[in-house]
Symmetry: C2
Subunit: 555 residues, 2 copies
Amino acid sequence: MRVGLLQLNPVICDFKGNCEKIVHAAQRAFENKADFCVAPELAVTGYPPDDLLLRADILEECEHSVKELASRTKNFGPLLIGTPWRAVPDSTQLYNAACLLVDGRIDKVFGKTLLPEYDVFYEKRYFASVQSPGVFELMGRKIGVTICEDVWNDPDFWGRTGDDDQPVRSLCAKGAQMIINLSASPFSVGKHRVIKAMLGSMSAKYSVDLLFCNQVGGFEDLVFSGRSMAFDAQGRLTASALEFAEDVLVVDTINSENNRLSVHDLSSSSEIWQALVLGTADYVRKSGFNNVLIGLSGGLDSSVTAAVAVQALGSGQVTGVLMPSPYSSPGSIDHSLDLSVNLEIKTHTLPISELMQAYDQILAPVFKGYQPDVTEENIQARIRANLLMAMSNKQGKMLLATGNKSEMAVGYSTIYGDMAGGLAVLADVAKTSVYTLARWLNKTRGKTIIPREIISKSPSAELRPGQMDRDTLPDYEVLDPILSLYVEKGSSFNEICALGYDPDLAQRIIYMVDKAEFKRAQAPPGIRITEKAFGRGRRMPLTAKCSHDRSAADG
Amino acid sequence: MRVGLLQLNPVICDFKGNCEKIVHAAQRAFENKADFCVAPELAVTGYPPDDLLLRADILEECEHSVKELASRTKNFGPLLIGTPWRAVPDSTQLYNAACLLVDGRIDKVFGKTLLPEYDVFYEKRYFASVQSPGVFELMGRKIGVTICEDVWNDPDFWGRTGDDDQPVRSLCAKGAQMIINLSASPFSVGKHRVIKAMLGSMSAKYSVDLLFCNQVGGFEDLVFSGRSMAFDAQGRLTASALEFAEDVLVVDTINSENNRLSVHDLSSSSEIWQALVLGTADYVRKSGFNNVLIGLSGGLDSSVTAAVAVQALGSGQVTGVLMPSPYSSPGSIDHSLDLSVNLEIKTHTLPISELMQAYDQILAPVFKGYQPDVTEENIQARIRANLLMAMSNKQGKMLLATGNKSEMAVGYSTIYGDMAGGLAVLADVAKTSVYTLARWLNKTRGKTIIPREIISKSPSAELRPGQMDRDTLPDYEVLDPILSLYVEKGSSFNEICALGYDPDLAQRIIYMVDKAEFKRAQAPPGIRITEKAFGRGRRMPLTAKCSHDRSAADG
């Protein structure tokens, strides 16, 4: 059997556009002799539609779109399409479903069994779960339908016991010889290796063909990497689609030797780079923008952000803005200009000294008797944000924020200042990873994109004379592993100390992270590349008083 | 039997402080001859602890705290305490539980049956549901334990059919003669009437005593109004606790004539006012601040925000900042000064004309060839935000944002400008309700708090000469009802038109609301007073393309 996997990049609730994509991709697949086609989980709306799923008119549009898809593809061959679907029209019982379209009508509807409610997923808010997954017959073969999470709980693979709900097992018990999985599985670094191993082990365990059709694209803070795959009944990978790009992959499940096996470059830096590029391109364009602005400080983060933006949108669409102050090093200008030459982007230079003086003068009567402190630093960051947002408003260009995850974690950033922007490109990339990424980029391109001085100099916000990040923060090599434990692994203070980290340092870092929740609550979306990003997958109270806060504050 | 309802205001995960409150309140109740005491849902952590519930150390602290509570109250009498509770220590199976403490030990643990996952609730993310609610015996009476949502699904009261899970029915079937409900039921205007009717109807229907013990206080964007109540087996209200304040209410279920019936002032304006005051006081103080700053524009919103802040924190803790521009009307100064006299708050005046000129000069080369537009207005709003945040940073005062719900809905506000602040006090109050509130306040106080000119003049942002809100927006009397339908009721364009509203107007308003999602995503928390606020209970995608957007954009 030849199955077309339609690895598409929809726009949330752009029903017309999404259906157009499905029809065109299906047409290509059937022209390429597919017997049957699959589109990803919720392909009709794109994933995740969030609270739009609570709107009756959106659900009506889903139903209307699926019917229209059936009618438009009636001469093609069967299609299995992911869509929200009400058990009964007008009912509030909604399924995360797959509709089987045959001969111009909706032949069968299958539902998702396991609804994830962890991390970035809130599916129980919207969907009811079906009791057991379903099977249909095509060309004499029984095909079992699973949706994303349904294949994520094989206790053998995860080394767990006691999982009752095993949709694949129950499908095989019903005689399924092939398992289809419609997915919208968000990217994180290294996850594709896990998916591949998990699906391979499952297809071998049950001796079934297993076809995984994944969404691709950037959806707000989430990126989906595509890389749809097919496994044979021995657990061997027999076909794979492009990474981080739309693709139509026709898989021959019988004669697999001619299947396409796209090469996936799985180095961490390559994955992160591609995710940031796709995430940026899609966020900017799906928001209705074509051009972006970036404040260039001569530092690493703004440089890497600019490089991502150029790759995502083209150098003609990226403008760098230099806003030197009296505390800016000469390098901050020179290195930014070097970068802009390397990236072939235009720049503007807007010195902020006069504005700083104007704020100082106006605030002098109010600030009488107070010593200079972080306030004066924040004023500079907010002057820059005002200039950048003015350019953004006037010229219709989206401002990109440049802060990295380490800064975001400890609150080493100015709210309404350097945190301002439509998208924070590096918000889930730890500072040490930004260094690695910059070096990887220069090496991969075979030429200097990020100037060497930018990589080699000590990081500084340059908001007061001689300021260095290390005056305020531990070295990033020390900071990042503790942040990874606390934020990404959810480790407690005791667990972190048990790994040998200095308790005072751990406590100080945890205190900084907890204290910065209010800033992150007003941050722009970032692009998730780790298993735990700030944003939709991590909802922390803003007025909590945890014990480690207290002891640290007291100490 | 005499039951003590401990209506407490915890701080999220302040285990020491919360337990201290429980012990002291229980002591008072037992001194007042209670036989038994009840603390609200999740009283040990406060509600909602959000993703702190995913941390093992937090769950250990819950267990430790409950054990300590048992030991500290062992000479008191039985206590029923809401807390997160793991079925088995170290298991990931967590219950939203009530622990019965008797003689210094944990005698029984009851779990919540129905876990809400709509609007502001995400309980399925954290909790497993128990199969059926539990009963215990005390002084020869069988007492059934329910937690919040467990009493919210009586099909008779709601006029629904087909609800299988009816915890109260199943408790009564088990012989319960009294139902206890531990709650953390978020406030919205008018909801208390519904709770009262619902609980009264339920106690009469099953002929049981029903005791409702509710959390009180401000928790980020949520306010809980307390107003714990007792109903007898005829459905009569026999006791009620204070509104919007901590209270210990001892209910005699046999001799109810001496029970305290606190008078609840249920006018909408009074409820809104009390919710805003409590929400502001708790957000500011639980964030570690005592003082606040407010930019006073001479307009209605900043005036009402200042009045709320004075009531919440005291006039000595509130500072008004006047930041006139060349476009400010003379009234903007005079009326603000009148207000500050009425409220007895100190003010500073920081004119922004020079800063505006400085920005204009710096941006002139970049803006050559562009016409003046909304950019110049946003620059002013962001200058003011920078000045206010500088004062906030320097003096350790929280900035309060002053925008109302109508503005927030249609995006008539400047991100990083007037939207800046730690808390947006009026973010869930429609402009027409702000007017009503101002008039109510002046009337209730019997003197002018909000100057009459502020109430009577036409609303204006004063960001360009002669600007009026009505130049950009429909009249608020026209705008607010459509916003209420679209945002609060979730009505579709077609449903709104079917009610007789002008389709062009409805489409324009819907387009503005959809287009402003990105601003609201970076807004400070507001105080929820309606059934549907922006914030935790409404999660909309930022890059969606809904059909009405498109048609409006095309049209």
